[in-house]
Amino acid sequence: MSGLHYQRISMSQEAPDHPQHEGTSVDVGHLAGLARLAIGDDASTQIATDLHAIIEMINTMQAVDTQGVEPLSHPLDSTARLRCDEVTESPNPTHFQSGAPSTVDQYYLVPRVVE
């Protein structure tokens, strides 16, 4: 960090309308399961530390008063355009499956799910 000058976020770390969780404890195993990521015990400790720092940073936004403010999902506040219900593409599985890891008869092959 030497030689770098940052404008540090100076808002309170308090989170007045913070949800029910205490502090920023992170259950990496649970999150990794939800995200379908295989994370070993060794990596898990470091990831927990990293996520803790990131979530602490994110929590500074809780200090902003948003009472009565509508959420903004599209940056220009517009809605997605609908197109006419017309077929514009034609299937070409040979072409589009050429990069697939494993296929048979235009199906994707994965390990057996039902024994």
Partner: protein, 486 residues
């Protein structure tokens, strides 16, 4: 013609018959071949297809075509799907992915006769501010090879700064065009959200992602932007606009600015202790050009970084769920079950920063936290957007630093993720509001280039380019090259 000729100068040379597109393209390929080992700014070099496209452009020119962009070499960030060409997004996950179709940006530039010489390196899935998160290794800053070029469009920025190409495409989700442009001493334009089609552009955060040009000067940025932009029915967020000035710009260049502007200086961007003397010089020059500078306030600026990292990570965790090892991309060896296939393919295919962002997004979207994080961030996003709207009732454009620091050393911030995220401090507010912004070289700090950022109301790119061209007509910061004395 030298390695730092602009696209416009090359276009004039082609028009005069000084050289052919094949000769020009070969000269580019030779320079890339020579310099890429040291800079690592290209992941893929398309020598054969580039020379074939150049030969086709020469044929068209011989048959009377006068398009200013015909036969001009450039590079694509490796985030744009390019049919038949490796398209990796800087990730192991896509290290074997040959795109089966072209992104609209790719087809637009090909239709304009431009010649892609290759695909540039980038932070994995555009997540990063240093280009150190690429599976294909870090990119070196041409001004100092020990330093980063910025990110995520670091390969494009370094390629332009080093004179390997005069223009390259980039994408900007929270600053990924502007910050590397500033750190490499080039010009980078992030257009208004919806200006340039996202079809075929590998998604990071869909409500923020926007493609734009990275060039040596505003004239070339305008030329490339005019080719890249336009309504695309394949992108549901593409803006349905027909701006005549875009076509006029291709033919005639940027129209001269015909009035003095009121330029706002947001106090929140100038409140830290950094050495901003380079911006003071730019302010003086802008005043000398007849523009009026006034102080304005964007009061929610300090919340922008946390808001950005909630929204971008949430969108990333959703977008990147498509990489499951089933249909394309990396698959782990010998999966024992479908769950094992998903989890190990993703664990092996994604790098550390991508995993951090997926997990951050998963956390903020998980049961019980949605309102406190995602919804809260969307509400603050509106406040940030309204700050800009309020400011633009008083001023024509805003002026701010692009980056809080010059290019930093490789590995300097890799273990301090939050400090790395603060690199985006001056760029994410504009992204959250979907506004256009351009970064221009405007001085040096410790011998390294620094950039200033001009921000306009939505769809105000013409005004940005006009002001940038006027500024560059009176200054020479954009003409400084690596190796020059600062």
């Amino acid at each position: 013609m030298n390695e730092f000729s602009s696209l416009r100068e090359m276009s004039a040379g082609l028009d005069r018959g000084d050289f052919s597109s094949v000769e020009l393209t070969q000269a580019h390929l030779d320079r890339i071949q020579q310099a890429n080992a040291a800079l690592n700014c290209f992941i893929t070099i398309n020598a054969d297809s580039a020379l074939a496209a150049a030969a086709q452009a020469d044929d068209q020119r011989a048959r009377g075509s006068k398009s200013p962009t015909l036969g001009l070499p450039f590079a694509h960030k490796d985030i744009f799907c390019t049919q038949g060409v490796l398209t990796t997004a800087g990730s192991k996950m896509l290290s074997n992915f040959v795109a089966p179709y072209d992104a609209t940006v790719v087809s637009n530039m090909a239709a304009a006769g431009m010649v892609s010489v290759g695909k540039t390196n980038m932070d994995e899935f555009a997540m990063g501010s240093s280009n150190e998160n690429s599976f294909f290794g870090p990119v070196s800053n041409p001004w100092d090879h020990e330093r980063v070029p910025g990110g995520s469009s670091g390969g494009s920025a370094a390629a332009v700064a080093a004179g390997l190409v005069a223009g390259a495409t980039g994408t900007d989700t929270g600053g990924s065009i502007r910050q590397p442009a500033a750190l490499c001493g080039i010009t980078g334009l992030k257009p208004t959200y919806g200006r340039v089609s996202r079809y075929g552009m590998i998604a990071f955060a869909s409500s923020l992602d926007q493609a734009g040009p990275m060039t040596r000067d505003a004239e070339d940025a305008a030329l490339m932007f005019s080719v890249m932009a336009g309504f695309d029915p394949k992108d549901s967020t593409s803006a349905e606009r027909r701006d005549a000035w875009l076509d006029a710009t291709i033919a005639n260049g940027i129209a001269a600015l015909d009035r003095p502007l009121t330029i706002g200086l947001p106090s929140e961007y100038f409140s830290d202790n950094s050495n901003l003397s380079y911006i003071d010089i730019a302010k003086t020059e802008l005043q000398r050009l007849g523009h009026k500078l006034v102080e304005v306030s964007l009061p929610h600026t300090q919340a922008a970084v946390p808001v950005y990292y909630v929204l971008a990570s949430a969108e990333a965790s959703t977008n990147l769920s498509r990489y499951d090892g089933v249909r394309f991309g990396h698959r782990c060896n010998d999966p024992q079950s479908l769950q094992d296939l998903y989890e190990r393919s993703r664990e092996e295919g994604f790098g550390e920063e991508v995993k951090r962002r997926i997990l951050t997004g998963t956390y903020t979207l998980s049961v019980g936290y949605f309102d406190a994080y995602y919804l809260k961030a969307q509400k603050i996003r509106r406040l940030i957007s309204e700050d800009f709207q309020q400011a633009f009732t008083k001023v024509d454009v805003l002026l701010a630093p692009t980056s809080p620091t010059p290019a930093f050393k490789k590995n300097q911030l890799t273990d301090d993720h939050v400090a790395m995220y603060q690199q985006d401090l001056y760029t994410v507010p504009t992204s959250l509001a979907g506004l256009p912004a351009i970064s221009l070289p405007c001085g040096f700090c410790d011998g390294l280039p620094m950039g200033m950022q001009l921000i306009a109301p939505a769809f105000g790119e013409e005004l940005l380019l006009q002001l940038a061209a006027q500024y560059q007509g009176q200054t020479d910061w954009h003409l400084r090259r690596p190796g020059d004395s600062a």
